[in-house]
Structures are given as structure tokens and as C-alpha cells.
Symmetry: D2
């Protein structure tokens, strides 16, 4: 790229996450221009296009890929289309920001990553939580040696409410849909790969989730290559809201981060002391990180640097999710090397 | 206004606060259009105009006032120009958002408010802290009766570093420059007017501030019409950063709000437990409130409602500042009725 | 004293505070022996004597003073008897621990202190809060220079419920009965004397307190000899319990202490996040400090050292209380030099 | 027992924990009398006896068991003597308070419990943490249904420093020596039995611990009969001090408790915000619970009620410890039914 010129980005998929990225690109990402929007639901694409004054709007994302004025794409379409579009976009020479997961099939992931490598384009995976101020601080402190040698990692990741059962059925299961973010976080924070996974899980929130073949509550043990041990606890339903905490304990100390709140008020009454619940869900909690990941993607392309979350970072958490599902089915620790 | 049409706003003054409002209007205020920018420093005006693709850019704010396509102005110029521009803008039929303070002279303030009233335009004063999520929550809880009858108000308001002494000399003094925000907050939270002020103050941070005829540290007692008592403490220099807290105690309980932090990390080491300092200064802490006040101004105009901070809300804190200065000079409680 | 021998202490007054000191001496004060108990209500004295196996029990405290086997007394009788018993105890050569206040009359205080000086016995005043772990830490940090030069002191001191009106009538008024602890705390923490007091106060809790000639809510401004400014806020009724907090702000930083809680539980539910109210009242909150002050008194006598709270420390807060009452009556700042 | 008479207790073992119980009985347990002290180190026994004025002091604990004036014993001797002394004390008709663990052998435990049952005496096991104000509150809230149906339990239990390696060698291993408290806590809080245990562990603190055949760091997964899942994380060395926290998450909410601190001070400086480390170790943190468990033991005997921690409560955590050790060795989940 000639970084005197802005990066012209086309957004593929104008659903919830596509709209977020379109707005980030249009209003909050220096160096980027929102240059096109595609969605099979043309009305949805048009709504966003009008809002940000974008002229290229289409029901067929190939119009984006075929436009020589487009430098890069943000793939925000349905999960099962990601890997294919990545391949097409790479072939078209576009730089790629792709929402997680790349796919639920390792074969498709590998084909997509091979296409990216062959084309020599940049690829960034949308693990936005790495760009959250809290988790980034934890990573920085570990990297700076503040906790010494890490011994124990604890991740709490609980949603405020389960998705519709229809979604659950096509989601790939909780480990690939929800825990995948925590698997990525574990790798990101510890700077070491996970070698073995053990899962204790169950259906405690909604029997319909169990009937759909999935679980809704889990405690996951991770063994890292560096000897550290991690534990993730997940629930599909925390009545007090979105619970996103991390703690890393090591030879030199401990660093932890808690939830973000809508305000800092504390109310003391005859009934006790009361304060706010966490920000409700991922849109509220992680909005800043969605903006930040897009800004870093744009800078990586403009400055010809490696993006902060690359293809292998999209591949390994999928393997971890598969190992977790196997561990749960077989009630035994499963090595990642058993999977892929 | 026909609220099918966006509100076209011209920003007068392209300094630090003018830039903030320009960006809010251009990117984050639904229903508003950034339609012009004026600054005596034309280069500054142009820089912002280019960024947001604004064609009307001028060194003479009269070009804004004379443009029939402009519906409203945001006055962000030097304090001593506010009252005069308010009068001119009112005469031109523009709705007005005016940064605080309107002026340091009650006569000029009154003339400006009279012009606004005569013209029948909307006027909103830039007491942005009322739109901060923390303070708004306190106000809501008091209004909802959660603290019962308010008895004691405590405001802590400390800056991370004093302004340059050259600025201090023309600032109108700490009470009119810095405490004025706290005076507004006291009125906003308590929903009752202050009748008497007593000030204990001194020069503790920098003797140069004293040499310039001002103080840098103060504890201020307020007596409210409803019988409640308030205390404000100010310092020009808190080494740990911008300290902005409020506590209201009453017959039914207490509500307090603390500082906002850049992240929630807590680090436990052999040396103790450590966490973040508050967000550094007003730009970091109050950015969301700057956006929110502009959004509410635009909605007030579009929907023909009374703005949330009106002319008298700009006038009374100036009287309180004058009473505070008099109390300090004479070391006695001073009634607001002694001033204006 | 020959400090190979324990200090034999007689407790005068077996009311609430007398029982606390008797138990501390009997069970938790190394080097001390509970050697006698006196109370005009002989049954009360006997109850405590039986509990701790004490043989000298009497309705006439002179039996304690006349007993050569008694080395020291703890005066826990009604306030209006303190000064006289101090004089008698000094004349009898007993070391003296005396509950606050010594008296409400400066003349009687001065006579008592003169008697102590003449007799050469030790005198410690029962300002127990100085021995609280929280406040002691604040003092240590100030003394160690951690806050730099102190600029602003804030004390919050609120009771959970007002005393009976009959007590209010004989209490000497809120400033001498309740705020006196805060006046002592202000001197203790800042290591500088107060020179001027200004009071804003009112009757907000119970009109009967006003009818009895007292106030129940106050905000007090203190000017210290070292230039610092302090503020104390008092209420006779905090519905959420006993509120005892301190904050000291200075050129190098701020140190604050909050309330102690019965446990650290935090409950997060759909209704918000909830935690405990402060420990209910002074018996719960300050029990450890009652023990600690007695331990230090005993060590001061055994090791022939100056006690940590001496006669003048009992005298000055009374002057501050008188100045506060005068300031409230006259609505003006009052210098302590106007009083005594 | 005739509960008009105090309970006369003999303490067997005058080491660290024996001294604590002796002092509780002598000074802080209404209804109890410290009636005898035995230790093979007679000097240690005498030291405590003198302090509390106890005449029966002996190197042979049979002197305690044979004394008809003794009603109950507190067994605080070395672990490998507990089971045998329990049997002898039961045979002598004494009520028994026994420090944990009863033994490391299920056979010896069962023999001891059978002797207690046969003799019809009371037996309470020294799982003192159940009497801690924090954990008790969690139990109360779960029992009251505040968290709804419990789904996830998290226990963090980390020591400030490892014991001497010589101790490690005879301790029975970390799971029976340290985690045993957490196993008891898990059962106490959840009100449901654990059925299966999985352990990930390692030697991260000190290779000498590994050389002695033990681990020093562990993450343990528990599956409860009611379907809930628990996780315990242990470390022998937290540089910031004794870390004792619990969190229970369920369908109705979450309750958590944190560490207790020596004071509540918060220091804000240019370097950040700083506060206290947790209370150093179990003596500081759990002193109140040691007193409370003895008070409840005495009341259980005096009022002929079931003690709050009975024989089976001493047996099951030992089984859990054995299952944990087996799980670690075999790297697989182990059912408790495989053990005993």
C-alpha cells in the first residue's frame, strides 16, 4: 500500500457485527474509507450505506471483490461462508479482516489460510477481546514480567442470556461458539500454547439446549506448554449480566481484571450497599475493542506490518474447541495433538 | 424546526473544545450536520473543516451568523467573546449552544440572556458534567427519593495540574474558572438553590498562583434553601490525576460516585495491591458527556423542547463564584443575595 | 513501677464502657491485673467482678483509691465526675486512664490537669480511635511523608441513630459529645493545631433534638496552623450504619480509609450488586481500639513512658467544641484563641 | 451435661494450635474452663498453664483422660496421634474436639469414629474455616436460596509460603494437608457431596517439594451429586500473602467473598493507587474462627446438640484428598467411590 492513500474497505455482511465495523471504518478509523457494503439482504446493506454515504451497495459481495478501487474487505457474513469468501478475496488480492471463527472445519480453515498465504495479502481474525483495555493490560503486565512465571490462569466468561435454541443448533456447540473467545484469550495472555484440555460440563440453564445436543455450563482445565494450568468457567446465563473476568497468578504476583460498569455509583441504604451490574452484553462491553481492532488492521495494512491476530490464531482455538467437545464426550483429558 | 431536516450547526472557535464539538456534531450526533467552522486562526478552522469535509470555513464568525443555511451555532471562542456572540447569534435567529461561562460580568450575562429571550431562540450552556453517567445517576437517585431528604453534599474536584500562570491571570480566578463546574453540579444534584457560601482557601500548590492574585486550594461550604449543607474541596494539583467525586447523604441513605479508570486491573505483589489512577483529565473523563450534551442540544432544538441547561443555569454559578471570592477576601459567610 | 510486677488496675464505673475496659484488662492486656471494680450501682459492679473473679467490689470508688494494692485506675463513670475523680486519684498517687471528655468546663479540666502534674502520675485520655488500625495507618503515612505536605483533611463521622433526647440535654451538645472525637482525630492525623473553626449546622434528623437546644447535622471547616484546611461532616443518623471515614490529601498524594464490614461478601443478582453495611456502631467498630489503648496505657506506666494521649489532648478538643458551638450561634469563623 | 456447670476442657498438645485453643477456652469461651494441659514437651505445657493459671499440667495426656473432673478434650497433638487419642478419650467418656485431619488412613479414621459412636460422646472436627464470617455468610446465602440452584463453585486457596520440606515429607501431601480445608469448604458451602475429582498439578514453587514427592500448585475440578461443578486452585506460595476467596454462581445470582485486610487504607500517588495485602496467614485470618468453633463445640456439649462438624465431615475430605492424589498420578477423573 501507498500509505499516503486511505485504505478503501468493503464490508461483506450488514448484520449486527457488520454494522459495527461499517461505523468504525466510516467514523472512527483514521486512514480508512468505507467504500462498499454487501449483504444478501439488500435492504440491510442499503440502510448502512445511506447512513454513511456509501455509493457501492450490493446484494452480491462479488461486486466488492471485483471493484479495483477496493483495497480490503471485512468479512462479517454467516460463519459457514467465511472460509470461501476468504479464498475468493485472497484471489482478488484484497486484504482481509475476517470475523471469528474462520470455519468449524479444519480442512476449510487450512484451505483458506493457504489461499491467503499464496496471495500474499494480510489477514486479521476478529478476536476483538485482545483489544479490550482490561485484557490488554493483563497481557502487558505478564509480558513485562510483573507476575513472574505464570502458574495459574483463571478466566470467567458468562453470558447474560442464552441464544435462541435454533441458533444453538447451528452454532457448532458452546465450545466453538462461545468458549472460542476464551481459548484465544488464554493463548494471548499466557504467551504459551495449550497442550491438553479437560472439560466438566452440563446442562443447567435450559433443557432445550441439552436436547439440541449442546451444554450451557462448563469448567475447563487447560495445561500449557510452559507448565502453567488454566481454568475457564462458562455459563450461558448469568442473571446479573455479562461476566468477563481474568486472573493470572504467578511467582511474582497476581494481576486480575473485573467487569466494566455503566457508572460508579454506590448506594448505601438501610438494606445494605448497592452498585451497578456489569455492562449488559458484548456490544456494550466490547464496543471500544471492535473499534480498536479495525484501527490496528488498517494500520497493519497501511504500514505493511503483520496484523495483531493472524491466521493461525484463528485455527488453534478451533482445535481447542474440538478437543474440549471430545473431552466432554469421553470424560478424560484430551491432548490437542489428538485433533489436528 | 422541521425535524425531518437535520440541524445545521456552525462551530465558532476551533480550539480544543471547538474541535471536540465539531467532531461530535460530524460523527456522533444523529440529526445534526456540521455546516461551518470559524476561527480567527483560519488554519485551525481549516484543519477541522478538512477532517470533516466542511465547505464553510472562515476567520470571521459573522459568515456563520449570516448564512441562512445555518440553523444553530456552538460558541467555543474565548470567554470574553461569549456574551457578545450570543447577542449577535440571537439577533440572527440562530439557536445557541454556548460554552461556560457566559461571561464574568453579570451585566453582560443579563444582556445576552435578554437578547436570547427576545429572539425566542434556544440557548444551552456547556455544563457538560451534568451529562456524565456518574453524576446523572446521582441526580436520578436523588430525584427518585432514594436518599430521602438530602442533608449533606460533598463534592471533590481536583485537577491533575494547574494551568499556566498566564492563564490564571485572565481566568477570573479559581472560583469562576474551576469551581464554577462544581457550583453548577451542586445546584443540579440537589435541586435546590444555594443561599450562602463560606470559603477557606489558600495557596498551597504554587506561589506564582498566589502572586497572580488567585488561590489554588479551597474548601467551600454551601447552605441550600432546603436546609441541606454542602462542601466542595478543590485543588489545582492532585498528583494521582483528575479527582471527580460526589457524595450525597440524606435521611434515606447515601449515594456516591467515584472516579473512572482506564482499566480495572488490580495487581497484587509482595509490595501490596495496586490499581490504576483515574483517567487523566477532563478530555479523557468527560468525552462521553461532551457528546451527550450536544446530542441533547440538537434534540431540544429539533423537538422544540427546553434545553437541559438554560440561561439562568449559566448565570447563577457566576454569582456563586463572586460570592466565594468575596467570602474568601472577607473571611465570613456571604449570602448570594449580597451579589446580584 | 517495678515492671516485673503486673499493673493492678481498679475500674471506676461499671457501665457499658467500664465493662469493656474491665474485660480488656482481665483477659487481653498483658502485664495488667483487674484488681477492683466500683460503681454506685453495686449490682453492676458485682456482675463484672464475678465474671472476672475480682474480690474488691464496691459502691464507693474511694475504696479503690484507698487501696494501696491498686496501682492505677480507669475512670469510666459519668462525665461530670471525671475531673473530680482525676484529682482524687492523682492525690492518691494512682496512675490514671480517664474516659473522654475530662469535663465540659475548662476550669475543672485545668484543675484536674494541675493535680496530675503535681502528683507526677501518668494520665491517658480515652480517645480510643487513635488506636484503630485504619486511622493509625493514616497517621503513619502522613508522618512518613507519603502525602507530602497535607493540604485538605476530610473526616466523615456519622452515627447510626441519635441518642435519647434526655441524653442529648445533658451531653454538652453534639460538638462536645460526638464531634469531640473528630476534633481529636483532626489533631492526631495532621500533627498540627487547629486555629479557627467555622460551622454550618442544623436540625435535620429529629426536631426534638432542636427543641433540646442542640443540632444533629453539621459541616465543620477547620484551619490548621500549618495552612491546611479540614472539613468534618457529622450526622446523628445514617440509616446504613456507623460511617467513619477519613481522607487526607496533600502535595504527594492522598490516603483514605473507609468503613470496616462484618464480612466481605458481594452478591450479584438481577437487581444489582449488593454488599454489607458498615459494622453497626462504636462497640463493634472500635472494640480492638479499646483493647489497644488499654494495652498502651499499661505499657506506658510499666515502662515509665509518656502515654500516647495526654492531658492537653483532652483539653484542646473541648476548646474546639466550644469554638464550634460559638461559630454556629454567631454564623462566623471563630478562632480558638477566642475561647481559652 | 448439666449445663449449669461449666465444661471443663483439657487441651492435649501445646503447640501453635494448642495454644490458640487454650487461650480461647480460658478467656473467650463462655461456659468453658481450661482445666488441664498436656504436652510431651512439658515446658511448652507449663508455659501455657502458667499464663492461664491452670494447675493440671502434664507430659502424659493420660493424666487428662484419667481425671474425672475433665469433661472434654481438645486434641491438638501431632496428626499421627489423633485417631488413637480419639479412641482413648471416647473410652474415657470425654467429649472430643479433634484437630483435622483425624488421620491419613481410612481404617484408623473408621476405628476412631466407631469408638466415638460406641461411647456416645460428642466429636467435633477442627474445620475452623466453616466458622469464618465470610464463608458462613456464603453458606447462609446459598441455604437461603439467594443464588438459586448452584452451578459453579470456585475456591482460591493459596498460602503465603510453603512449609519446610521436612514437613512436606510427613504431611501426607498437599491434597491431604492443605487442600483438605478446601474439600471441606466445598461440601459445606454446596450442601452436596462430591462424586468425582480431576486434578491438574505441578511443581512450580520449589523443586525440593517435587523431590519430596509432592506438588505445590494445583487446579482441581469437582463434580457434585447435584450436578454442580467446582474448581479449586491452590498454590503453596502467593507472594502477596494468604489468598482465601470463594465464589458460588447459580441460577439466581452469584455470591463471592474476598480476603480480609489489616486496614482499609487506600493510597493514591503519582505511581497509582495502592492498598493492603491480605492478612498474612491463617493465624491472622482465621483467629476469630478458631474462637468461634470452640464456642460452638462447648455449646453443643452443654446443650446436648449435634456439633456443627461431625465425624463423617472429618472422613470425607480425606477420601477426596486420596482421590485427588490418584487423579494426579493417573491423569484422569477419579470417582470417590473408587476410594472408600
Amino acid at each position: 500500500m501507498n500509505n499516503d492513500q486511505p485504505l478503501r474497505i468493503g464490508v461483506i455482511g450488514a448484520g449486527r457485527i457488520g454494522k459495527i465495523h461499517a461505523e468504525s471504518i466510516a467514523t472512527r478509523t483514521p486512514g480508512a474509507v468505507l467504500a462498499g457494503i454487501a449483504d444478501v439482504d439488500l435492504a440491510a446493506a442499503k440502510e448502512t450505506a445511506v447512513k454513511f454515504n456509501v455509493s457501492l451497495v450490493t446484494a452480491d459481495y462479488h461486486d466488492i471483490l471485483n471493484d479495483p478501487a477496493i483495497d480490503a474487505v471485512a468479512i462479517c457474513s454467516a460463519t459457514n461462508t467465511h472460509a470461501h469468501i476468504v479464498q475468493e478475496a485472497a484471489a482478488a488480492g484484497k486484504h482481509i479482516f475476517c470475523e471469528k471463527p474462520i470455519d468449524h472445519s479444519l480442512e476449510k480453515i487450512d484451505a483458506a489460510l493457504a489461499a491467503v498465504e499464496k496471495a500474499g495479502v494480510k489477514l486479521q481474525i476478529g478476536f476483538n477481546r485482545r483489544f479490550d483495555a482490561n485484557f490488554r493490560k493483563v497481557r502487558e503486565m505478564i509480558a513485562a514480567g510483573k507476575v513472574g512465571e505464570p502458574h495459574i490462569l483463571r478466566i470467567t466468561s458468562r453470558d447474560p442470556a442464552p441464544p435462541p435454541v435454533e441458533y444453538v443448533k447451528v452454532s457448532g456447540g458452546m465450545f466453538l461458539d462461545m468458549t472460542i473467545h476464551d481459548f484465544d484469550m488464554a493463548r494471548y495472555l499466557m504467551g504459551s500454547e495449550v497442550e491438553e484440555v479437560y472439560v466438566a460440563a452440563g446442562v443447567m440453564v435450559d433443557p432445550a439446549i441439552g436436547a439440541a445436543g449442546d451444554v450451557d455450563t462448563a469448567v475447563i482445565t487447560l495445561k500449557f506448554a510452559n507448565g502453567a494450568i488454566g481454568t475457564i468457567d462458562n455459563s450461558r446465563k448469568a442473571v446479573y449480566g455479562y461476566d468477563q473476568r481474568v486472573e493470572v497468578f504467578g511467582s511474582g504476583g497476581m494481576v486480575s481484571v473485573g467487569n466494566n460498569l455503566p457508572n460508579t455509583h454506590v448506594y448505601s441504604s438501610a438494606d445494605g450497599v448497592h452498585s451497578e451490574k456489569p455492562l449488559y452484553f458484548f456490544l456494550e462491553r466490547y464496543m471500544d475493542s471492535f473499534v480498536a481492532e479495525m484501527q490496528e488492521f488498517v494500520q497493519a495494512v497501511l504500514q505493511d506490518k503483520t496484523p495483531p491476530v493472524v491466521g493461525v490464531d484463528g485455527r488453534i482455538p478451533v482445535i481447542m474447541g474440538m478437543a474440549a467437545a471430545k473431552s466432554y464426550r469421553e470424560n478424560r483429558p484430551v491432548k490437542l495433538s489428538e485433533i489436528g
